[in-house]
C-alpha cells in the first residue's frame, strides 16, 4: 500500500523545465506531422497501386496516349518543383528571423501551387472534352481519382500557405515561428514528391516503350 514516505527532493530538481521536456528532442508538431506523412504515403500508395493494377486494362478508349500532352504537364511539374525551392527559402527566412524573405517566398510558393492547380483544372477540362470521363473506362476512373486527390492535397497546401502568411504576418504564431513554417514546408515537399512519383508512373511511363 502507499505506506511509503516521499522524502524531500524526490525526483529531479526544481530547475528541470518540464514544459520543454521532449524525450525524443523533437517538436511535438513535427513528430506528429511526420507520422501523418508516413500515413499519407499509404494513402497515395494505395491510389497509385490501384492505378498500376488497372494500367492498360481499359476496355475502351480514350487511352493515355490519346489525351496526354507531356509538354504542358511538364510545365506544371516544373512549377511545382520550383515551388519547393521557394518553400525552402521561406523556411530559411522564418528560421533566421527575416520576415520579409519569409512572406515573399510563402507568397511565391502559394502562387506556383495555385498555378499548378489551375493547370490541372485546364487539363481535366481538356481531357473531358477529348472524351475521357470518370465513368467511361478504367483509365478515366483511376486517372481522375489519383490526380484529383493529389490536386486536392495541393489546394489544401495553398490554403495552408496563405493562412500561414496571415498568421505569421500578424505575429500570432506562438512559440517557435520557424518550426511552424517548417511543418507547412514538410507538407509542401511531401505533396511535391508524391507528384514526382505520379508524373513518372502516370505520364512518363506511357512514353518509354
Amino acid at each position: 500500500m502507499s505506506s511509503h514516505a516521499v522524502p524531500a527532493g524526490a525526483g529531479h530538481d526544481e530547475t528541470f523545465d518540464e514544459h520543454h521536456w521532449r524525450s525524443l528532442g523533437v517538436d511535438h508538431m513535427k513528430l506528429a506531422f511526420w507520422t501523418f506523412l508516413g500515413s499519407d504515403c499509404f494513402f497515395f500508395g494505395s491510389l497509385i497501386g490501384t492505378y498500376m493494377y488497372y494500367r492498360g486494362q481499359s476496355l475502351v478508349g480514350p487511352y493515355p496516349r490519346d489525351v496526354f500532352d507531356v509538354n504542358i504537364t511538364s510545365i506544371s511539374t516544373f512549377l511545382l518543383l520550383m515551388s519547393s525551392f521557394t518553400m525552402v527559402l521561406a523556411v530559411l527566412g522564418a528560421k533566421t528571423g527575416k520576415r520579409g524573405m519569409t512572406l515573399v517566398n510563402l507568397a511565391l510558393t502559394a502562387a506556383m501551387g495555385s498555378a499548378f492547380v489551375a493547370f490541372q483544372m485546364y487539363e481535366f477540362a481538356h481531357f473531358y472534352h477529348a472524351g475521357l470521363t470518370l465513368q467511361g473506362n478504367l483509365f478515366g476512373s483511376t486517372f481522375y481519382i489519383l490526380t484529383g486527390f493529389h490536386g486536392t492535397h495541393v489546394a489544401i497546401g495553398v490554403l495552408w500557405l496563405l493562412l500561414s502568411m496571415f498568421w505569421y504576418g500578424k505575429g500570432w504564431i506562438r512559440g517557435d515561428e520557424g518550426n511552424a513554417i517548417e511543418v507547412a514546408g514538410l507538407y509542401w515537399h511531401f505533396v511535391d514528391i508524391v507528384w514526382i512519383v505520379i508524373f513518372t508512373v502516370v505520364y512518363l511511363m506511357e512514353f518509354v516503350a
Partner: protein, 635 residues
C-alpha cells in the same frame, strides 16, 4: 509539499470530492483520463447493442429450418451490424479507453501531446458510431427499407449499387470513414505522446509493456487505415458516380476491394488483440509477484507481429484463386506470424510458473485470456494451410476461430484491464461477488457458444447462413451455441450492473497502489489528480515503483495533497472547439448522402450537397482558426 509522508491508506480518498462533474465539463474536457472513461462507457454501450444483434442471430439459428424468427434480410443486417459494431465500436474504443487512461500515467506525463485533438478523436468516434447505427433507427421508424447488410468486410461487387441499392451501404462506408479518421488522428497523437513525453530516464526499454503494445498498434492504425479509406472511397465513387473500380462489366475487378480491405483487415485483427496482450502482460506479473518473463521478447515479438501482419492479408483470399505461388507465400508468412504469437504465450506461462499467484478477478480474466486465446491461435494456424483453408473458409470453423481470439482473447483481456484499473480510475475496487458471477458466466458462455462451432464448421455448416437443414446432425451444436450466447449476455448484464454499482460508490475504498504493482500509474492517488504527477518522476528501471518499495530504489511515488495543481504545472484549459469541429467534420462526411446516397448520382441534389459541404467546410475552417487562436492566447 513534497516532504509529506503518506502513511494512511485512505490518505487521498477525498481529494476529488469537489470535482466538477457538470455535463458541460464533460463536453469540453480535454483530460485524457476523462476521455478514457468516455471511451470506455461508450464502447460498453455499443457492445451491448452488438450483443443484442448477436442474440437475434443465435435465436434465428436455434432450430433447423426455422422459418422466420427474423427474415433473411434482417438476418444479413444483424450479422453485418453485429460485426461492424463489435470491431469498430466495441473492442477498438475499449482499447482506446486504455490508451487514453493509461499511456500518460505509465510514461510519466501530464496528458497526451495534443489534448484537444484527443477530445476531437473521441467525439468523431462517437458521431461515427451513432451515424453507423442511424439506419437501424430509420428502419424501425419505417423511413428506410434496409440497414447495412454487406458484412463487415463489405465485399464488392455485392455492395455496389446494382446489388445494394438504397442508402444503407453509403451509411456504412461513410461511418467507417469517420471512424477511421478518428482512429488515425488518435494514432498520430499517441505516437507523439509515447515517443516524446516519456519522463526523464524512461528509455524505450523501460516502458511498460502495455505502452509498448499500444505504440505498435498506433503504427498499425496509421499505416493500415489509409488503405481501407482508399478502398471505401473507390466504393463510394463506384456507387455514387458510376466509376468502374469494382465493376466487372467495364473491366473492374472486385478482388481489388478484397486486397485493399484485407491489407487493412489483417493488421486490424492485431489492432484488436495487441492492446489486450499488453494489459495481460501488466496484470499477470503483478499477481505472480514476478517480473514479466523475457520482457524484451514480448516487446520484440509485438513489433514482429506488427511488421509481418502487413504481409499476410491474402490468407483471407485463398479461395479466390490467386495461384499456387501467392498461396504458398501467404501461407508461409501466416505460419511465420504464429511464432511471435506463441512466444508471447510461453512468456506469460513462464511468468506465472513458480510465482506466488493470487487468483484475484483481474488475474483470472488474464489467465482466461491466455487459455482461450491459445485455442483461437491454434485454429488460426490450421487455416494458414491453403488446402485446409479451402475446406474451412466461410464455414463455422472460421467463426469459431475469430471468436476465440476476439471474445476469449481481446475481450477477456480488456475486462481484465477494467477490473484491474478500476481502482485507479475510481479509488475503489469493483464489488467482487457479482464480478465473479459475471466471469463464470463469460467463461462458460464463451466455450459453450464457440467450441461447438468448430464441429459445425467441420461438418460443413456455412457461415452467414440464415437457415440450415434438419437431420444432418447440426441441431444439437446450434442449440448449444444459442444457449451459450444467452450465458454470455447474462454475464455481460452482471458485469455492467457491477460497474454501475461501482460508479454509485459500491466497493472497498483503496489506496494508491492496491495490487502492489510495479509501474508508474500506481504511484499517484486513486483517482489521479487531473495533473497526474506532482513532480514528473525520474525513472531508473522498468519497474520504478517496485524498486522504490522493495529494492530500495529511488522514489517515484507522489504525495498529492489538495486538489489544485502545484504552481509550476500548467494544464490545458477545457475547450469546446473539439466538439464543434467534430460536428462540422461529421456533417461534412454525412453530406455525401445527399447527392450520392442511394447508389445513384442525383444531379439536382448534388448542388445541395456541395452547398452543405461548403458550409461545413467553412465551419471547419472557422473552428480550426478559433482553435489555433485559443492556443495563441497570452497565458
Amino acid at each position: 509539499m513534497s516532504t509529506a509522508a503518506t502513511t494512511e491508506v485512505e490518505h487521498h480518498a477525498d481529494v476529488h470530492e469537489e470535482e466538477d462533474n457538470s455535463l458541460w465539463s464533460w463536453l469540453t474536457t480535454v483530460d485524457h483520463k476523462r476521455i478514457g472513461k468516455l471511451y470506455m462507457f461508450s464502447a460498453l454501450i455499443f457492445f451491448a447493442m452488438g450483443g443484442l444483434e448477436a442474440l437475434f442471430i443465435r435465436v434465428q439459428l436455434m432450430y433447423p429450418e426455422q422459418s422466420e424468427f427474423i427474415s433473411a434480410q434482417t438476418y444479413n443486417e444483424m450479422f453485418t451490424m453485429h460485426a461492424t459494431t463489435m470491431v469498430f465500436l466495441a473492442i477498438m474504443p475499449l482499447s482506446a479507453a486504455f490508451f487514453n487512461f493509461l499511456i500518460p500515467l505509465q510514461i510519466g506525463a501530464r496528458d497526451v501531446a495534443f489534448p484537444r485533438m484527443n477530445a476531437l478523436s473521441y467525439w468523431l468516434f462517437l458521431f461515427g458510431g451513432i451515424f453507423l447505427n442511424v439506419p437501424i433507427f430509420l428502419k424501425l421508424l419505417g423511413v428506410v427499407g434496409v440497414t447495412p447488410d454487406g458484412g463487415w468486410f463489405g465485399y464488392a461487387n455485392m455492395t455496389l449499387s446494382k446489388y445494394s441499392p438504397g442508402m444503407s451501404i453509403d451509411f456504412w462506408i461513410l461511418g467507417l470513414a469517420i471512424l477511421g479518421n478518428s482512429s488515425m488522428m488518435a494514432g498520430f497523437n499517441f505516437i507523439t505522446t509515447i515517443l516524446n513525453l516519456r519522463a526523464p530516464g524512461m528509455t524505450l526499454f523501460r516502458m511498460p509493456i502495455f505502452t509498448w503494445m499500444s505504440l505498435v498498434v498506433q503504427f498499425l492504425i496509421v499505416m493500415s487505415f489509409p488503405m481501407v479509406t482508399v478502398g471505401l472511397l473507390l466504393m463510394l465513387f463506384d456507387r455514387s458516380f458510376g466509376t468502374n473500380f469494382y465493376f466487372p462489366p467495364n473491366g473492374g475487378d472486385p478482388l481489388l476491394w478484397q486486397h485493399l480491405f484485407w491489407l487493412f483487415g489483417h493488421p486490424e485483427v492485431y489492432i484488436l488483440i495487441l492492446p489486450a496482450m499488453g494489459i495481460v502482460s501488466e496484470v499477470l506479473p503483478v499477481f505472480a509477484r514476478k517480473p514479466l518473463f523475457g520482457a524484451p521478447f514480448v516487446i520484440f515479438s509485438g513489433i514482429m507481429i506488427g511488421f509481418v501482419g502487413f504481409g499476410v492479408w491474402s490468407h483471407h483470399m485463398f479461395t479466390t484463386g490467386l495461384g499456387p505461388v501467392a498461396d504458398a507465400a501467404f501461407s508461409t508468412t501466416t505460419m511465420l506470424i504464429a511464432v511471435p504469437t506463441a512466444v508471447k504465450i510461453f512468456n506469460w506461462i513462464a511468468t506465472m510458473w513458480g510465482g506466488k499467484i493470487s487468483f484475484t478477478l483481474p488475474n483470472v480474466y488474464a489467465i482466461t485470456f491466455v487459455f482461450l486465446f491459445t485455442i483461437g491461435g491454434l485454429s488460426g494456424v490450421m487455416h494458414a494451410s491453403p488446402p485446409v483453408d479451402l475446406q474451412q473458409q466461410d464455414s463455422y470453423f472460421i467463426v469459431a476461430h475469430f471468436h476465440y481470439v476476439l471474445v476469449g482473447g481481446a475481450l477477456m483481456g480488456l475486462f481484465s484491464g477494467i477490473t484491474f484499473y478500476w481502482p485507479k480510475m475510481y479509488g475503489r475496487k469493483l464489488p467482487d461477488g457479482l464480478g465473479w458471477i459475471a466471469w463464470a458466466l463469460f467463461f462458460a458462455g464463451i466455450n459453450v457458444t464457440f467450441f461447438p462451432m468448430h464441429f459445425l464448421g467441420a461438418m460443413g455448416m456455412i457461415r452467414r447462413s440464415w437457415q440450415y437443414p434438419a437431420g444432418v446432425g447440426l441441431e444439437g451444436y446450434n442449440l448449444m451455441a444459442t444457449v451459450g450466447a444467452f450465458l454470455i449476455a447474462t454475464g455481460f448484464a452482471f458485469f455492467f450492473v457491477n460497474l454501475i454499482r461501482g460508479l454509485l460508490g459500491a466497493g472497498e475504498k483503496v489506496g494508491d497502489d492496491p495490487w502492489d504493482a510495479a509501474t508508474l500509474e500506481w504511484s499517484m492517488a486513486s483517482p489521479p489528480p487531473h495533473y497526474n504527477f506532482r513532480k514528473l518522476p525520474v525513472v531508473h528501471s522498468d519497474r520504478p515503483l517496485w524498486d522504490e518499495k522493495h529494492e530500495g530504489g529511488s522514489p517515484v511515488s507522489q504525495a498529492v495533497i489538495g486538489k489544485d495543481a502545484p504552481a509550476h504545472v500548467e494544464m490545458p484549459p477545457p475547450s469546446y472547439w473539439p466538439l464543434l469541429l467534430a460536428l462540422f467534420q461529421g456533417g461534412f462526411f454525412a453530406a455525401f448522402l445527399i447527392g450520392g446516397g442511394g447508389g445513384k448520382f442525383d444531379a439536382s441534389a448534388f448542388g445541395t450537397q456541395v452547398m452543405v459541404q461548403l458550409v461545413m467546410g467553412l465551419g471547419m475552417l472557422f473552428t480550426m482558426f478559433a482553435w489555433i487562436r485559443e492556443d495563441a492566447r497570452p497565458r
